[in-house]
């Protein structure tokens, strides 16, 4: 289980997973990192033996592995099993990485000496002028292949196509009998795409396309976006947060306390009803009080996060 105290506050219909075909948007600020929520879902999906595709735009695999270990999941094993896919969207996302390409992990590099001769050579799929996904050789009893890397492309559509291939691949590999496994696609985080120069409109379109794609595979989309008050004056940033909130079915907003920092309460977590949720209620897809809108407080501990009602911090009681 991820964080036990968070569980009761999440949508209960498919707990501990999210309802398939939905989109959870997590927003955070500089003062309160929303990353801890992503780790919760990664851990839950892997423990439930479902598929996770994690696109690390702001973090590297090592980070997630280490936190995962604290929460009791072994991401390396999960990768070998095929439950967990990591997509490196950090190292080569922009063309700034181009001069240093020789120092970065080469996806097309041949495997270490333990590979048998029967291993097929890597096949590079050249799609467009921009993105290339180099598929590392599928070897039998070797450590999991290095993560797929998203290469720079001036057009965001290429990024979408690359992700589309990865997801279709992940979903097809793990089709167990009549029921398809649930999939979760996690984007950490969207604001990086804005900062790298793609337009707000394109990033919102990417979110739309991914949401539709993931729904086809019985999946859920989770994104993280930065929503600081100070950045609200910047139109792209503001537009992205609002656009994502309009697209989302569930919204969780992580913010620092208005009164400042505290030792016992690291911030507040709000479960919010956006326009998408209202429509779900109108359609009868969610029961009346299934997911009430409320604000909770949280505290991050070494290998757990405590979530509690406002005013009920253990430091206070």
């Amino acid at each position: 289980m991820g964080y036990a105290s968070l569980e009761p506050h999440l949508p209960s219909s498919h707990a501990p997973l999210l309802p398939p075909g939905t989109f959870l948007s997590i927003s955070d600020t500089q003062a309160s990192d929303g990353n801890f929520l992503l780790h919760h879902f990664i851990s839950n999906y892997i423990k439930a033996d479902q598929n996770v595709v994690l696109v690390g735009l702001a973090g590297i695999l090592v980070h997630y592995t280490m936190v995962g270990r604290k929460l009791g999941v072994n991401l390396a094993t999960a990768r070998t099993k095929g439950n967990f896919q990591f997509v490196d969207g950090l190292t080569q996302l922009t063309d700034y990485a181009a001069p240093n390409k020789e120092y970065l992990a080469k996806p097309t590099e041949p495997k270490p000496a333990t590979i048998t001769s029967t291993a097929t050579p890597s096949s590079t799929t050249t799609t467009t002028t921009g993105a290339r996904i180099a598929r590392p050789a599928a070897a039998a009893a070797t450590p999991p292949a290095p993560p797929k890397v998203l290469s720079y492309s001036p057009k965001l559509v290429d990024l979408y196509r690359a992700l589309e291939e990865i997801i279709q691949d992940a979903a097809s590999k793990t089709k167990t009998g009549p029921s398809q496994k649930q999939l979760v696609l996690i984007l950490d985080d969207l604001s990086v795409l804005l900062n790298c120069g793609w337009s707000c409109r394109d990033v919102l379109a990417l979110v739309r396309y991914l949401k539709l794609l993931v729904a086809k595979f019985n999946g859920t989309l989770i994104t993280l976006v930065h929503a600081d008050g100070l950045m609200a004056e910047e139109v792209s940033q503001d537009g992205l947060v609002k656009g994502v909130f309009y697209e989302a079915d569930y919204i969780i907003d992580v913010r620092g306390l208005d009164s400042g920092g505290s030792r016992d309460v690291h911030g507040q977590l709000s479960l919010l009803h956006g326009p998408g949720y209202l429509l779900r209620q109108r359609l009868g897809q969610v029961r009346e009080n299934e997911w009430p809108a409320l604000t909770l407080h949280y505290k991050i501990l070494d290998n757990n996060v405590e979530v509690f009602a406002k005013g009920y911090s253990s430091g206070v009681l």
């Binding site: 909130f245 009803h273 956006g274 326009p275 429509l279 009868g284 809108a293």
Partner: protein, 349 residues
């Protein structure tokens, strides 16, 4: 006096272009769909879906209207090459209507305009076109969106109308430019061309304003894109500005209320939803109700039946002069020296 929102919903107040302005805090989609469902039964409904999947909107459009869907949702930027034809037909088992679905991208609003106006021209009249979000169009191009709306309004007749939802808080294409402050705000321009403007606010926001007003304070608000009070399913407040054909503008604040999340909408008085009417408005209401000035006097100003009859029967002496064409009508009385001759006769000029 029925709330004006109720009249608009029932179709008693004609309005060729209803614009529902909403924000993240209070979505106008539910109200918009209710307005759409109340379209006359002989209307064809054209659903332009840009923000919600068509299969999610369709179940919420009640009634047996013939429907056409313009799907701008599934492929907004044309990133997916659709191998199926762009126009598909589905037989709707319930109402025996064939629903056509047209797939459209929003890369080029002008092309989209052509598709939509063609669809309208074939329909010609008796239709309601519904935009579930103008924001997706405005983020592509503001002038092209306005041209789209103007092209549609040019094709409207007495039996057709537009209902559109507009998200006030989403920036439009112009906002991203550095000289955006010099351009007119799309929101304001839209309000000009709309004949009915409905602005949604959450009931809690109005309650908070009422509280502040009573206390004389302003509660400090933490920054948030959306609060926990947002999008309550049970009620919402609507500020309505309705321009009649005569030129008169009716401005009212109403509210709607639902018993269950999937239940019917009922238009109510805003104070039923928000709480007590503030004292200032109570005073205004008392003043506007015409009090009988003849009450509470120590003498009787009323007329008896006989007196009333006598009053109605009196002939007013100079009534004829009121009806005449302007000719001078002179009737001399006893003291006048009436002389028919022209007094200027003896002048020898």
């Amino acid at each position: 006096m029925a709330p004006i929102l109720e009249k608009i919903m029932a179709g008693k107040e004609a309005s060729p272009f209803i614009l529902v302005k909403d924000t993240l805090e209070q979505s106008g989609q539910v109200l918009g769909l209710e307005l759409l469902s109340n379209s006359p039964s002989n209307h064809a409904i054209i659903l332009v879906c840009a923000e919600t999947a068509p299969d999610r909107l369709l179940p919420l459009v009640k009634g047996n209207h013939k429907k056409a869907i313009v799907d701008c949702y599934s492929n907004p930027l044309g990133w997916v090459k659709d191998t199926t034809s762009t126009i598909t037909s589905n037989r709707d088992a319930a109402s025996e209507n064939t629903t056509i679905t047209i797939s459209l991208t929003l890369r080029n609003i002008r092309k989209a305009t052509k598709v939509i106006t063609d669809l309208i021209t074939t329909q010609r009249s008796n239709f309601t076109i519904y935009f579930d979000s103008l924001s997706q169009f405005l983020i592509a191009s503001v002038p092209d969106t306005f041209n789209l709306l103007r092209s549609i309004t040019a094709l409207l007749t007495d039996t057709s109308r537009i209902i559109a939802i507009h998200h006030e808080d989403i920036p439009d294409a112009d906002s991203f430019l550095s000289d955006s402050s010099s351009k007119p705000q799309a929101s304001n321009s839209l309000a000009h061309i709309a004949t009915t403007l409905i602005t949604l606010k959450s009931s809690e926001a109005l309650r908070q304003d009422q509280e502040d007003f009573k206390k004389g304070t302003v509660t400090a608000k933490e920054f948030a894109y959306l609060t926990v009070h947002g999008n309550a399913w049970d009620s919402a407040v609507c500020e309505i500005e309705h321009k009649r054909k005569s030129g008169k503008v009716a401005k009212e604040t109403n509210a709607y209320h639902q018993g269950t999340p999937t239940g019917n909408l009922a238009v109510v008085n805003v104070w039923d939803v928000v709480g007590d009417m503030p004292d200032i408005d109570k005073m205004d209401l008392e003043e506007s109700q015409t009090a009988d000035p003849a009450a509470n006097l120590s003498f009787n100003l009323n007329l008896t039946e006989e007196q009333r009859k006598a009053k109605n029967d009196t002939v007013l002496p100079y009534l004829k002069t009121q009806e005449s064409t302007g000719a001078i009508y002179y009737e001399p009385d006893a003291a006048d020296d009436f002389d028919d001759d022209d007094p200027d006769d003896d002048l020898t000029i």
